[in-house]
């Protein structure tokens, strides 16, 4: 049980893909224009990550080592297409906003990295916990970024008005430059927090 919690927490904070490892940045920057888009993308990625990690772990003993990468890629791409079709059928508006970044989940390095580094060697329940952690960590990053950009850029949060009526939205926040600049400062803030916490744990 302790193992499972540790596997989960590793992805949420210690090795958070966006804040710490800086991989999987393309969808993060592109679809974080609002909190809702960030959440949708985060959920889609988490689903693919958990399903493909679990399946990779299940079949890990059947797949010869030489062809494991192509097999992993096909598994991931299949789940991505399922998500793509599901969103198109159930949530067409969200599907339209996320656009080509749904199929691009395939090349989100996080998913292949977890399959290769963890799920290919570990039992199913630990692989799923690990994948869930990384997925949630990714989702938290996307929603954080999306919230900051939406609140400053449009004065709303999840579509609800949060800024006072006289607030003039900073349009640049929802444009491409706003994505880079916001993420730059968020990454710096996370660095600062983890540096402080390691400093205190060392001195105590």
């Amino acid at each position: 049980m302790v193992n499972l919690v540790k596997d989960f927490w590793n992805g949420v904070w210690d090795e958070n893909t966006i804040f710490k490892l800086q991989i999987g940045m393309c969808p993060t920057l592109a679809v974080s224009t609002s909190a809702q888009n960030g959440l949708a993308m985060g959920l889609a990625t988490t689903f693919v990550l958990v399903c493909s990690s679990a399946l990779v772990s299940l079949v890990r003993k059947l797949v010869p080592n030489e062809v494991r990468i192509p097999v992993y890629v096909v598994i991931i791409a299949t789940f991505v297409t399922v998500v793509d079709l599901f969103l198109k059928a159930a949530f067409p508006d969200i599907h339209a906003v996320l656009g080509i970044f749904i199929p691009l989940i395939v090349v989100n390095c996080v998913i292949l990295a977890r399959a290769e580094a963890f799920a290919g060697k570990m039992p199913v329940h630990r692989s799923a916990a690990d994948a869930l952690g990384f997925g949630i960590g990714f989702m938290i990053a996307l929603v954080t970024l999306g919230s900051i950009r939406e609140i400053l850029g449009m004065g709303t949060w999840f579509g609800m008005r949060v800024m006072p009526a006289g607030y003039v939205p900073w349009s640049i926040m929802v444009l491409p430059p706003g994505a880079f600049i916001t993420l730059g400062f968020v990454v710096a803030a996370v660095n600062l927090i983890s540096r402080r916490s390691t400093a205190t744990s060392r001195s105590s």
Binding site: V67, V74, I75, A77, T81, P92
Partner: protein, 198 residues
Amino acid sequence: MSNNLRMVIVLTVTAMLSGLVLSYAHDMANTYIQRNEEAKLRLVILDVLPGAEDYEVLASKTQPEIPEDDVTLSEAPPTQQHIPVYRGLDKNGEEVGLAFIVENPGYGGLIRLIAGIDTRKDTLTQIQILEHKETPGLGSKIADAPFREQFAGKSITDPFVVGQDVDGISGATVSSKAVADGLRTTIQEVMKRYGKRG
């Protein structure tokens, strides 16, 4: 069993399973996807044509119903060759107006909008922006009420020129012009093809 053979078998089985899963998922999703698209289209058509209870498709993007003797069409720009046009019908099945899709490039990309004509009064009923990629805060105002609503009730023979009979959005001349120009040319095309005949 040799290792090579095993590799081939594993890859083949993986690919086949993937294809199987996907074709099944595609079949399931497809009915919903088509139903969504139809429902969405129906909603906007009935919205821009007040009084309409139903509609029939006169021309759609995939099945352009272009009169064969129409030579002028071959010279039209590509975006105008296939104008989707829908005829709005009231509950007795009488025509109340025509709705059509206008596509014209703006500042950041293609602007798609739907407009309705009241064919009894020859006026525009209203327009709705379906899709655009204009700059947020500037060109994006084409989708806001103050800009859109000035087209409601305009005569279809009006000039549709920004600065004359259309108030442009300050700071977004290109976007405003794209809407006005697109409306003018498409209305002319639509009326030529489907306007009162005899």
